[in-house]
Amino acid sequence: MHFVNAVPSALGFLFAGPLVPADPGRFSLVEKLTLAVLIFTSAGLFWKRFGVVLDKILKSRKDPGFHLGNIGKRIWDFFWEVLCQAKVIRERPLPGLAHAFVFWSFLAFALVTLNHIATGLGIGFLNSTGIFGQIYFWFAALFAIACAISIAGLFIRRFVVRPIWLAREGHELSWESGVIAGLIFALMATYLASFFVADTGPATRILWWTHTLSLLVFLPLVPHTKHLHLILSPFTIFFSRGAFSDIPPLSGDEDFGLVTGKDLTQLVSLQAYSCVECGRCTEHCPANNTGKILNPKEIILGIRGYLNEYGPTAEELLLGKYNSQEAAFQCTTCGACEFQCPVGIEHVPIIVGLRRGATNTGEWDNEYGSKLFNAMERNSNALGLSALERDKFIQKQELPIFDGTQEYCLWLGCMGGYDPKGREIIASFVEVMRYLGTSYGVLRKEKCTGDPARRLGNDLVFQQLAESNLETMQTQKVKKIVSICPHCVRTIQTDWKEFGAPPEIEHHSEFLARHQAQLPHNKTDEKIVYHDPCYLGRYRNIYDEPRSVIASAGTLVEPERTRERSFCCGAGGGLAFLGEESGQRVSSVRAQELVATGATTIGAACPFCNTMFRDALANGENSPRLLDIAQIAAMQLPQPAAKPQA
């Protein structure tokens, strides 16, 4: 009580004004009728558009495989991302906080607004002479101040500072955002001003009506603009598919991914209408940042544009209308967009969905893509090499064959089994396992996990590989797998679930981190920069384990974009196999960033990142050394196993 009383009086002193907003007094019948007509008009205009949007969302196809499980996580996400505005603030702290204050003010104002309208109709319920009313009006006033300052700041940011991420092609500035900002400011200003005018005076009436009109103009603008996110995004976040970059199963014989409007699901449509156009996705997109046409924001707005023009039951192709096939196939599936999105849009499943639609129907005609798929089908590895090559490597390295008695099945993967650099990583990791006395074995026959096919939308090849591998796992009685490749780890653990129960799998960084105490360390002063692979960091939430390996060998340094914001190497999503990119190479942009830290060694934890950086650094003089964490760990072992095999 003490505290509550202290606040209004202190602020009251500050403003030297009365303690409550002025009471507009009694309204005439004409005023009441006018208000009623205005409310109906406003609500009608609101529904005229919102009803259409809702209809499009509800008429979309049901999401296959969606269930409302894991309520605890949903409630937490809602609390953290909606109520606490965590994602909004984390990425852009200052504008994020400003946005959060506007949002929190809206929540605080809900009661004030209801009371405001009710007062006009003669049924006001917040008593400004009562203690609750007084406290609440002051509580709202505090938020009104914060909100007015915030919205003014956001206005200046959008119209004066003009960050490029807010713009859209052809729409440099969003006039509607200006109008909305003006209305919000007017709402706050009129509310605050009403503390300083006398009860029942004409100024009070004018303020009351200005506030009311701002409100009634604001309402129908919401569904007509990106401010639709006010209503939809809490639902989008609550009803997310449930896991990061979760590719839904195909259902029935007619489902080939996102081919036409009929394939758009309710969640996809809901997400498309929730987009607030903030551009965080685009800001972090490696393709967009290196001059490619892919813009994840425009992908989502493209779906919205399609829904607006054709609707969710249309049989027109999705690609070629608002979204291009070229853009969809420039995505590395790094997931930076989805990770950043503050309104719960799941970009990767949508982009992969569009690719599925193009690949599963044969619409995607790409020389490299066809070669890759044929190689995966014929040779069961993405590099298109003979399985005999893998056998030779196993013999040369004297790798034991998994027979069910060993603890670990060491998954080589295409890179570990066929790529020279990947083989070096396996050789080093094997040295470490031998030193530790870990029992392991490799499969006599191993097929690609299907990762590139999965991300490029070829469900036929993916399914064949996943099923065949799952069968091998079962007959060989594999319980625990360890792999040097984050892509293999992700695909085996998550994507294979569509076709069976994969064994437990971990990335070698997790294995190495767990055995740090048993491994020898020769810590030097060498500066080693660590690059977070997308499929290990954002996809698996592994950040500290590989760092602990590096920190045991040298001084760990961080590049500019790190951890959750790590910048892709350019290889993911099957793009490592698709030939030359347009624009700058993603790999060289990232490699330069790593070099710029001044580190003499680059520590990688993914054979794809490794091979991308090797190529990107090939031309540079005095390039840093490029090592996998397994090689870094193996280097510290006693001789003769002290150096990685070149």
């Binding site: 599963n360 044969g362 893509g369 014929r378 399985a387 469900d459 036929l460």
Partner: protein, 262 residues
Amino acid sequence: MKIIVAIKQVPERDARIRIDASGKWIDLQDVEFAMNESDAYALEEALQLKEAHGGEVVVLSAGPERAGKTIREALAKGADRAIHIQSSDETELAKFDALGVARLLAAAVKDEQADLILAGLQSDDLGLGQTGVILAELLGLPHATLILKIEKTETGVKVLRELEDGWFQHLELPTPAVLTIQSGNSKLRYATLMGIKKAKTKEVKVVSVADLAASAQSQTPVVTLDAVKLPHKQRTTQILGGTPAEAAAALVEKLQFEVRAI
């Protein structure tokens, strides 16, 4: 245009080859099978012709039940229907020589009235390169081998043949004709999920080897296989030294004059 494509299912190129107990063929246990490579190119040519000029592509394959998978793959890539000359087991067809197989194929397609019959140049397993040519002879049709490109003309087809040493030959043939296709000229399409689903409903006519053989003229093989042996591998590695420029020059010379690869 009605095009028949003869396709053979062969052991995968990567297969671990072991000679079986009889010494006359390889042990087929643990071997995976795939579409013969040049047959895949023949299919691709047929599909491209169909896309350009319309018509029908019919797949023709002789093999045990397992060959059905390769037939489905061809249907998934776009062929319209198939004829499967099915052998009762793995050994039944092994008794046939190229002439015998060609007789079976000829008997299966004689009533089809196709405009073109395409076959791969040779099979990846036996590598005889004869079946397509004998088939043409049995059907009394003109034929050309080692075909890289097919263009439809008013009366027939214009084709490009690969000769040795980088030489090519342009030929015109009247249709119907039989062509055997060389690998590598076109871009193979990939099988799609939609294709596989559609293939489920496409017609595969199964005829037994025994039934067809009864209607063929003679069954006595003129060639018999006595034994198969694994090739003796000899490998020599040369390291080309010097500066990168010198090494590259030496490599080009070797590729040009020793290996004759470029």
